[in-house]
């Protein structure tokens, strides 16, 4: 376990800011305690200082997980967000999309979102913007990337993809072994 290097912090924040923009500040500077990001086995964990100190006493090979895993660094030093980060992305999301009840299951099985399944979308969403996916009852289901901007969405036919799937809460069942 170690703090992120400057380079790592930069790539990590760049990826995170696609979803929550400047709201990363709210994750770093919290009134309810001191939280930090720690790297362990190429994964980035968001953890309370107290818990981090306790976890530091466990030897690295034996430590499976601590705090919340935000994602991992690939071997080419890119950052991938995991669905476990959804709890922290959803409250600060800048761009959101709401799915119709009929499209929810499709998304939770790992499919992209088609125009026909689109319930609502944030105004002025640019293309390829990181976007959080909600059900109509405002339950966060996952996140992805906007394939079309809001303007384009209005004029496309119902079978075109509007959101590319990246992660969904169905992964808690499908990829249980890989998630930490």
């Amino acid at each position: 376990m170690r703090p992120l290097t400057e380079e790592e912090t930069r790539t990590f924040f760049e990826k995170l800011s696609k979803y929550i923009g400047e709201n990363i500040k709210l994750l770093l500077d919290r009134p309810d305690g001191s939280y930090c990001f720690r790297l362990h086995k190429d994964r980035v964990y968001y953890v309370h200082e107290e818990l981090m100190k306790r976890a530091a006493s466990v030897s690295a090979p034996n430590l499976l997980s601590f705090g919340t895993c935000f994602g991992k660094f690939t071997k080419t030093q890119k950052f991938r967000l995991h669905v476990t980060a959804l709890d922290y992305l959803a409250p600060y999301a800048k761009y959101k999309v709401w799915l119709k009840a009929s499209a929810e299951q499709q998304f939770l099985y790992g499919h992209h979102v088609m125009k026909s399944g689109l319930g609502r979308i944030t105004e002025n969403t640019p293309q390829y913007q990181g976007i959080i996916v909600y059900s109509m009852a405002d339950v966060p289901l996952g996140f992805g990337v906007a394939a079309k901007s809001t303007q384009e969405c209005r004029h496309t036919d119902p079978m075109t993809l509007v959101v590319f799937h990246q992660a969904d809460i169905g992964e808690y069942i499908r990829n249980e072994q890989e998630l930490t």
Binding site: R2, P3, T9, S17, D29, N124, Q129
Partner: protein, 344 residues
């Protein structure tokens, strides 16, 4: 007599009809590049005749142009080589692009770079120099060179030197080492141009090793075993070797949390600064201005056309401007979103 003349004339006419004349008349002279055996025809293409009998038209055209090329070849000076008439072609006048890309400039060696920086210029030295003992010219370097200190039959032992030291062998060794050093530098230059890692060689021999040099030599020698020095025993009172590789350094896991946070906030603030932020309003204004200018220019050049279109044209112009301004207002509303999108 008259018959004879008629016969000759008829025969000539027959011959002429059989073989076309070598004279070809063209409205515009062809550009003939004899050096490349190439002609280019700038005469207008006769579309009508080419449509009616395309094959014949093209064949005739090709024949005529080839004839002109051959005519110009026959005007060139000729030679007779092995009973064959050969024309001497001039240099080609049409530049033809080269097949292969232009070769890249050779990378400078370390010395060349240094010399360039310092403004050192090479003096040309002759390859042969006068050799006094043999009374002849000998090469400056290489085999059988003049002043070769390894080939002398008698060498004086310097006063400070060990009397049992072989001075001949010493000179040969020195030469070998110079060659090895040169080869190493050559390889390093190649490695530098290929941007691969320059291999370290540990230590090169010196005449007067310094204390630091000896320390390095000791640690290199200690680690130069099959087990990278794992089982090499330390001498009594030996200090820890300094000459070792660097280790990665990370910040302390449990350090000052406030410093860590402010550092990360700093990174966050500098995150989107290298990405240019597009000012949509300014871009739209520039575009509108450009459009207006081009329209005004058009009007100045062609006032009739503008007058004809005046009624509809003017209205449409205002209409377009109005929609643009409306869009701009919308854009300002969503300006924040656009900016943050650019920062990704």
């Amino acid at each position: 007599m008259a018959d004879l003349v008629e016969n000759v004339l008829r025969e000539a006419a027959e011959k002429e009809s059989k073989y076309k004349t070598t004279e070809v008349n063209k409205d515009i002279d062809l550009v003939i590049d004899v050096g490349n055996l190439m002609t280019s025809d700038t005469n207008p293409f006769n579309a009508k005749s080419s449509r009616s009998n395309r094959e014949k038209y093209l064949k005739d055209l090709a024949r005529d142009n080839t004839q002109l090329l051959l005519n110009s070849i026959w005007k060139l000076p000729t030679q007779n080589v092995d009973n064959i008439v050969v024309a001497q072609l001039p240099d080609p006048s049409t530049p033809i692009p080269r097949e292969k890309p232009v070769p890249k400039e050779k990378a400078l060696t370390k010395w060349e770079k240094y010399a360039k920086l310092k403004g050192i210029q090479n003096k040309k030295k002759s390859r042969l120099v006068w050799d006094e003992p043999s009374q002849s010219y000998k090469p400056r370097w290489g085999y059988n060179r003049s002043g070769d200190d390894t080939k002398e039959w008698l060498v004086e032992v310097p006063g400070s030197a060990d009397p049992n030291e072989d001075q001949f062998a010493k000179r040969k060794d020195a030469k070998k080492e110079r060659i090895a050093k040169n080869e190493l530098q050559r390889l390093r230059n190649i490695a530098r141009t290929n941007k691969s890692k320059v291999p370290g060689v540990g230590l090169t021999p010196t005449d007067a090793p310094s204390k630091e040099y000896l320390g390095k030599a000791l640690s290199v020698a200690k680690t130069s075993t099959a087990s990278i020095g794992k089982f090499t025993e330390n001498l009594p009172k030996e200090k820890h070797a300094k000459f070792q590789g660097k280790k990665r350094k990370f910040q302390s896991n449990i350090g000052n949390m406030k410093d860590e946070m402010s550092h990360q906030l700093n990174i966050l603030n500098t995150l989107g600064q290298d990405v240019p932020i597009v000012d949509k309003n300014r871009a739209a204004n520039l575009h509108i201005k450009e459009m207006e200018e081009s329209r005004a220019k058009q009007k100045r050049e062609d006032p009739d056309g503008a007058r004809k279109k005046k009624l509809t044209g003017k209205r449409s112009k205002h209409g377009r401007l109005a929609t643009m301004k409306r869009n701009l207002k919308k854009g300002r509303g969503g300006g924040r979103g656009g900016k943050s999108g650019g920062r990704r």
